[in-house]
Structure formats: structure tokens, C-alpha cells
């Protein structure tokens, strides 16, 4: 009797120890990686709830059109040619301002990041401009440039210039001191240093700024197309507001979202090509 009971106790103890060794693996404190596509679950649920609410009559078309209605309206507008015209007008504005702003931002960042005179002349001015919201300049710029295209492109240009300048300039100033010392001991000229060390070193910072700039140029456009225009996605949405066409407003919102996503994807693609050395280890 006693023998049996002791052996059970021993056995139990062994199992308990085995349990304990299983449990020795430390607790997982961070969530596991999300499988591909699962990120879409949240948006899909909202979309389905929205559609259901519209169909059940909870959501009146006067408040918000159903997603399916908006998609149908969008397709109709593409087919009758009205949407491509407005889209082209918006894109022309956004990308002219973007191009000019990125160009000027990079030139100013180079002058300010690589020369002392440049930094003394430029940096303070840009930092002050940074503190002023672009949209606060609208009244003044309308007086200067009128209410036409020049005003809209100019305002996008100034909005884009700031983040491009700030990030590129910071990247140039934050250059690895070890690389500077190396360049000096290798006897590089100033031009060689800029070309081989300073510019490639600042490229990641420039791409960060480019992604901000691309998002910003479309954001600025929404507001600017409220002012005196007969073309553009912003104009389309405002006219739809006057006529209570919520489906067209939703189409506009979807287009802005798509433009933002596509532009960002394009910049990221260029970035991954330009900075391919970073992926060398498959990280």
C-alpha cells in the first residue's frame, strides 16, 4: 500500500516537473506578425457596415451615399469623360507644385547644409516660414498672384518646400563624422566628398521628405480647389455639396485616397531601387 502511494506521488511530481520545463519558454510579450491581407479586415468591416446601413435605410443618401452607389457613380463619370478631365486638372496642379517645391527644397537644403553662408542666409528664413501655416498665406498670395492657377501652384510649392528642406537639411547635417574623417584621410576634394559621401548619406532623409511632400501636395489641393476654379476633384466635390450629391463627394474622397496610396507606393518603389544597398541582407 505505502509503496504504491509513494510511487504515485513520485509520478505526480515528475509530471509536474515536466509541465514546468514546458512552461520554461518565456512568455511572448509582443503580438505575432500579422499574416498578409489581415490588415484589410478592419476597413472591410466598416465598408460592409456602411453598405448595410444604407440598404436598410438607416443611412439616408442625403447624409452619405452607399459605397456601391459611389462606385457606380464613379464608373459613370469615368465613362462619360468628366472624371478624367477633373483628375488631370488636379494632377497637373499637384505635381507642378510638388516638382517645383521638391526642386527648390533640395537646392536650398544643399546650399544651407554644405556651406556656412548658405546656412546663415537660408535656415532662419525657412524655419520662420515653417511656423506659418501655408493656408494662412492664402489671402496674401491671392492679392499677389490673383485667384488663378499661379496662386494654387505657388501655395502647393511653399507647402511642399518646407518638409523637403527640413529633412534633407537635417540628413546633410547629421552626416556620420566617421565618414567625414575617412574622406579627409583619403584626401578627397570637396566636390568628391559631396558626390561620394554627403549626397548618398543624405538620400534616405530626402526620401522621407519626398513621401511627406507627396502626401502634402494632395492635401493642399483639396483646400485650394475651393477657390475660383471650374476643374479639379476639389471643385467637383464642392459643386456636389451644393447639389447634395453625396455619392460624388464619396467618389472624390476615394480618389484622393487612391492618389495618396499610389503616389506613396511610387516613391517607395524608387526609394527601394535607390537605396538597394540597404536590402542587401534581405531585411
Amino acid at each position: 500500500m505505502t509503496d504504491i502511494s509513494t510511487s504515485t506521488i513520485v509520478n505526480r511530481r515528475i509530471t509536474r516537473n515536466a509541465d514546468r520545463t514546458d512552461r520554461k519558454k518565456p512568455a511572448r510579450l509582443t503580438p505575432e506578425r500579422l499574416p498578409a491581407g489581415w490588415r484589410l479586415i478592419g476597413p472591410l468591416i466598416i465598408l460592409m457596415g456602411w453598405e448595410a446601413a444604407s440598404r436598410l435605410g438607416v443611412l439616408s443618401p442625403n447624409t452619405l451615399a452607399a459605397p456601391s452607389t459611389a462606385v457606380r457613380t464613379g464608373i459613370d463619370m469615368v465613362l462619360d469623360g468628366s472624371l478624367p478631365v477633373h483628375l488631370a486638372a488636379s494632377a497637373a496642379r499637384a505635381y507642378s507644385g510638388l516638382f517645383l517645391g521638391v526642386f527648390a527644397g533640395v537646392v536650398l537644403a544643399l546650399l544651407s547644409g554644405l556651406t556656412r553662408t548658405g546656412e546663415a542666409l537660408i535656415d532662419g528664413v525657412v524655419q520662420i516660414k515653417r511656423a506659418v501655416p501655408t493656408l494662412a498665406l492664402i489671402p496674401l498670395v491671392i492679392i499677389w498672384l490673383g485667384i488663378g492657377e499661379a496662386m494654387k501652384i505657388f501655395l502647393i510649392f511653399t507647402a511642399v518646400l518646407i518638409p523637403v528642406y527640413i529633412n534633407t537639411h537635417a540628413a546633410l547635417r547629421g552626416i556620420d563624422i566617421g565618414h567625414v574623417e575617412l574622406a579627409r584621410t583619403l584626401g578627397l576634394s570637396r566636390a568628391e566628398f559631396i558626390r561620394h559621401v554627403a549626397l548618398p548619406g543624405a538620400l534616405p532623409g530626402f526620401f522621407v521628405s519626398l513621401r511627406l511632400a507627396v502626401a502634402l501636395c494632395w492635401t493642399a489641393l483639396v483646400v485650394l480647389e475651393l477657390v475660383n476654379t471650374q476643374t479639379g476633384i476639389g471643385y467637383l466635390m464642392n459643386r456636389a455639396r451644393d447639389w447634395g450629391q453625396t455619392d460624388i463627394i464619396v467618389v472624390g474622397i476615394i480618389i484622393y485616397a487612391l492618389l495618396g496610396l499610389v503616389s506613396d507606393a511610387i516613391v517607395r518603389f524608387i526609394e527601394s531601387r535607390a537605396l538597394s544597398y540597404r536590402r542587401a541582407l534581405g531585411s
Binding site: G178, H179, E181, L182, A183, R184, T185, L186, G187, L188, E192, H196, V197, P200, G201, L203, L275, Y277, R278, A280, L281
Partner: protein, 240 residues
């Protein structure tokens, strides 16, 4: 002065201080052309400061005294300082203005055992391979003076031994004057013709090591010198 003709490096009364704190204190030193000098010393003894002074990388120091050294100097850093956005071969020939730079760089890479890594990105190399590339970059310039700041300090023991052998093989033909800053007493004993111990910014000891290469750690002459060097660095050999 006659000394300037036979000596590659002549240092006279060299002092360096940073924000009032003296790091080098009136150092005078002559190094004959082709001599391999190892610079030992505890942290803060001024050995890296001396090396950086000779490399011309101490703009922020208050300087006194003067030195002369060859114009053609290469610096070998502890971190290999390869530019991550340039392939290995472009790193090695960076700043080289010879028309045959690429071919010379390829030959030098083959010499350090990286012949198949010429077009690889530095981030794909191991620590030892990076330091080989860095060594190739330094020696491709055929320097008259090689300044090495603990170049093997961050490598594992086996890789370090291989790199030491590689360095000795490569400089056998070029015969540059070498100043090697190191924490490693055995490294100094195995490689150098002369070992200096720096203490509080001045040269406390100056030993010639005339033993032929290759050397082995257990040679009697080296063992005696090792005990002395360790003692002067504050480590009692008996405790090891």
C-alpha cells in the same frame, strides 16, 4: 637636420589638450623609415590622441609643438568605415586618381582574400571581411606611413590572428612605417619592431624587439618583455 633624412616621423615637444585637459604632454619621438611601432597604454593614456594628431584629425585640440611626417599617409580605423552605399571595390578605390585604379583595387582585393566580394555591398560582409577591405583600401595607396588605431580590436580571437598574419605579409613588400595603437600586449609583441608605452600623455617606456619574424608567443625574450609590459600597464603577470 640629419635626423629628418633617415626618420620618417619626427615629433618634438608635441602637446595636445582638450578644454584645458592635457592629453599629450611634451612628446618627442623619432621613428626611422620602415619601423613598425606599437603604441600601448591604458585607456586615456593619449595613444589615440597621438595617432589622430599625426593623421591631422584633431582640429578641436589646443596644440603645441610640431612634427614632420610623410605626405602619403593611410589611416586604418577600428571600425572599417566602409561607405554602405558603395560596393566593396568602389570603397577600396575611393579617392584614388590613378587611371588603373580599378585593376589595382581588384588585385589588392584578391591579395586580402576578397577577390569574389568586389561587387558586394559592405553590409553583407563579416567583421573580419570588412576589416580586410579596409586594409586593402589603406594599402592600395602604398602609404609611406600607416597609422592604425586598434584595427583588430573588435574582431574575434581567431580572425584577429589571421588579420595580423595578413598585415605582416602585405607590408613585407611595401615596408611602410607603421604606428599601431593597440590594447593587446601580445599583438604588439608579435608584430612590432619597437614598443612604446604611453602613460599620462608621455612616453613611459621604449623597448626594441629585435626578434625575427614569424614570432611565437612562447619565445623566452617575448615572455620576459610581456611580464614587464603588463606590469607597467598595471597588470601583475603572476595573477594570470
Amino acid at each position: 637636420m640629419n635626423a629628418h633624412l633617415t626618420h620618417a616621423v619626427v615629433i618634438r615637444d608635441l602637446s595636445r589638450s582638450f578644454k584645458g585637459k592635457t592629453v599629450l604632454d611634451h612628446i618627442s619621438l623619432d621613428i626611422p623609415a620602415g619601423q613598425f611601432v606599437a603604441l600601448l597604454g591604458e585607456s586615456g593614456s593619449g595613444k589615440t590622441t597621438l595617432l589622430r594628431a599625426l593623421a591631422g584629425l584633431d582640429d578641436d585640440a589646443e596644440s603645441k609643438g610640431h612634427y614632420s611626417r610623410p605626405d602619403n599617409v593611410s589611416v586604418l580605423f577600428q571600425d572599417s568605415r566602409l561607405l554602405p552605399w558603395k560596393t566593396v571595390i568602389d570603397n577600396v578605390k575611393l579617392g584614388l586618381r590613378r587611371p588603373d585604379a580599378r585593376a589595382a583595387a581588384e588585385a589588392m582585393l584578391a591579395d586580402v582574400g576578397l577577390g569574389d566580394k568586389a561587387t558586394a555591398w559592405p553590409s553583407t560582409l563579416s567583421g573580419g571581411q570588412k576589416q580586410r577591405a579596409s586594409l586593402a583600401r589603406s594599402l592600395l595607396r602604398a602609404p609611406a606611413l600607416l597609422l592604425a588605431d586598434e584595427p583588430f580590436g573588435a574582431l574575434d580571437a581567431l580572425t584577429r590572428l589571421r588579420m595580423q598574419a595578413l598585415l605582416m605579409r602585405l607590408v613585407e613588400h611595401q615596408r611602410p612605417t607603421i604606428i599601431l595603437v593597440t590594447h593587446d600586449v601580445d599583438e604588439a609583441l608579435l608584430l612590432a619592431d619597437r614598443i612604446l608605452v604611453l602613460k599620462d600623455g608621455h612616453i613611459a617606456e621604449d623597448h626594441a624587439v629585435s626578434l625575427a619574424h614569424p614570432r611565437h608567443q612562447h619565445q623566452t625574450e617575448l615572455s620576459l618583455l610581456r611580464a614587464r609590459l603588463l606590469a607597467s600597464l598595471g597588470v601583475e603577470a603572476g595573477n594570470l
